[in-house]
Symmetry: C2
Subunit: 352 residues, 2 copies
């Protein structure tokens, strides 16, 4: 059973702007939750996928995986959600539930292929999945998250991707009170990294090339700002970090950052999904240092993050837009001209 005529915005090809589009969604199955979408964050991945930067886009692309909404209705087997609940949907809407990654609550690494919220093969209707730039979505109950009622729902949207992407490495590598943690790069991801590291009571250092970001970094929770182009400052901090969260979204030279790590400490990359400049083997051999990657997070961990955000009142810094302004927002996003995340008010779509 199919619902048709659901309002959305889509790109028809990589050259196209996003335009109004009508999509199909499945009707509720017994395990599904139907969600009225209130807000949807704008992730840099949306832009990459719309423009086919990763060469895996299937058109039309309806982006959006930072979804906040209200439950409209639930299937017969759904017990944890009821009409009216404030919920979230992130980057994942399904996985096999049987492989070792799924059993370890790491559905993002599902060995049979996780179903991503958009641009992923759709097991129910065929074709591919459509994201949150739309009025409503139907999602398996296992992939629906409870959003604490006490936080600003609009500003919670980016938690579903930027939030979990930065939370997961901090949690997985056990960052704790008193650790010296560096967050490299101040954008959508970096600003969440600072907020989380600060809320975890780590000594939080913003590491950036731009001195003019210092004040912002401090107001977000950084205890210190380290300008990575300043060799004296870099020397002063050499070998002193317990953990580095590297949010730089493009290829770059990791060597200066490796020099900042303590013995046995790790730098985790979450942004650069492309070739990096040559790493010097000596930099990691001396001090037994580690470099790792991390990809979003599993559903259990995402719920833990949202609960933490409820307890510590952590949300993203956002700029609200209407869906009609999405193409202009993409242009600004490409120039990093946003502090620090656009969120679409989906009322603008419904009332259009």
């Amino acid at each position: 059973m199919i619902m048709t005529e659901i309002k959305a915005y889509a790109a028809a090809s990589k050259e196209d702007d996003l335009k109004p589009y009508k999509l199909e969604r499945r009707e509720l199955t017994p395990d599904d939750v139907k969600i009225d979408i209130l807000y949807c964050g704008v992730c840099h991945s949306d832009l990459h996928q719309v423009r086919n930067d990763w060469k895996n886009s299937v058109y039309p692309v309806v982006p959006g995986h930072e979804i906040i909404g209200k439950v409209m209705s639930v299937g017969d087997h759904v017990e944890n959600f009821k009409e009216g609940d404030l919920v979230g949907v992130g980057c994942l809407v399904d996985s096999c539930q049987e492989c070792s990654s799924c059993k370890d609550d790491l559905e993002q690494f599902c060995e049979n292929g996780a179903t991503f919220t958009y641009n992923s093969p759709d097991k129910h209707l065929g074709g591919h999945t459509f994201g949150g730039y739309s009025e409503a979505v139907v999602v398996d109950k296992k992939f629906v998250l409870k959003v604490p009622e006490n936080i600003d729902a609009k500003a919670a949207a980016p938690l579903l991707c930027a939030g979990i992407t930065t939370w997961s490495p901090l949690a997985n590598w056990g960052v704790k009170k008193g650790d010296k943690v560096g967050v490299i790069g101040l954008g959508g991801l970096g600003h969440m990294g600072i907020k989380f590291a600060h809320a975890l009571e780590a000594h939080t250092v913003m590491i950036t090339t731009s001195p003019d970001k210092s004040e912002d970094a401090k107001s977000l929770g950084a205890d210190e700002v380290l300008i990575s182009k300043d060799e004296d400052q870099m020397k002063k901090h050499a070998g002193s970090f317990d953990f580095l969260l590297n949010t730089i979204p493009v290829g770059h030279d990791m060597n200066p950052y490796v020099g900042l790590l303590k013995r046995d400490a790790t730098m985790v990359l979450v942004g650069a999904i492309e070739p990096l400049e040559p790493l010097h083997g000596g930099g990691i051999v001396m001090g037994r240092k580690r470099i790792a990657g991390s990809l979003i997070g599993g559903i259990k961990e995402t719920q833990e993050m949202l609960d933490f955000c409820g307890e510590h009142n952590v949300v993203a810094d956002i700029e609200m837009i209407n869906i009609q302004d999405i193409n202009e927002a993409y242009d600004r996003l490409q120039k990093s001209d946003v502090k620090y995340r656009f969120v679409i008010d989906m009322k603008s779509l419904k009332e259009s």
Copy 2:
């Protein structure tokens, strides 16, 4: 107090061959052990230092940090060693004993600068330290290792560097029975890696570019051989390794090996102390994979390795040479023409 006229072989400059040389050593202090050197392994580092490849050589260079000998005499405060004991000295002869690395039994990372066995500032006599291509050496008791009497003393020499360099990552990353472990590169380090992984009862896979090394790898203990240039074989093994020990001694492309790792698994580099080819960030982000370095090992861990070698009868495969043949051996070493480690019979020096 100084002993003079100790016979050795040294390089006087980076252009020079190794030649007979007379060096000075300190007399025993109360904490020292004086060792009659029986055998000294030839490490690739010896060649690098003699030729100043790392730009930190101080001449004359007397190489050698894979030392096996008999205790000649001990200082008044030495209780664990006595005349006639079979002992070893590896890459380290001193460290501060006070920093966090020393307290964690990782003297190789001493934050105040470990004293390496040769080409390192000498705290006792000034100048720099001289290695094992000599008849005798005086070493602080904390840096002297007990060599099990049941193993072949000659073939134990390479355990002091090649052995601990490959043992330490296997031990530190907790490689255990049944793990699928890949050893990349079959040289002095790689052959020890295979022997150790096999002795630890891991499913041991030799990963090499050269099909003609297959038989040797199997006779050393490899359960399987994976030819890294064979794309079909690489695909078959993709995502299947619990641990990779990368012994390649030069810069190379890590990306194909990263593809072999399981989720959350680590590849440890022990050989390439130089720039590597560009790593693709996506390779570690997908699967939360890790790349790390490792440098020799601490003294406690080196003793544990030697004890393990005694229990499991693990030694290196060696070719014995006389000190007079050392320059020819270096030429062959540079062409990887040795299975798998030269060891100098120091009788040839004493009787010259």
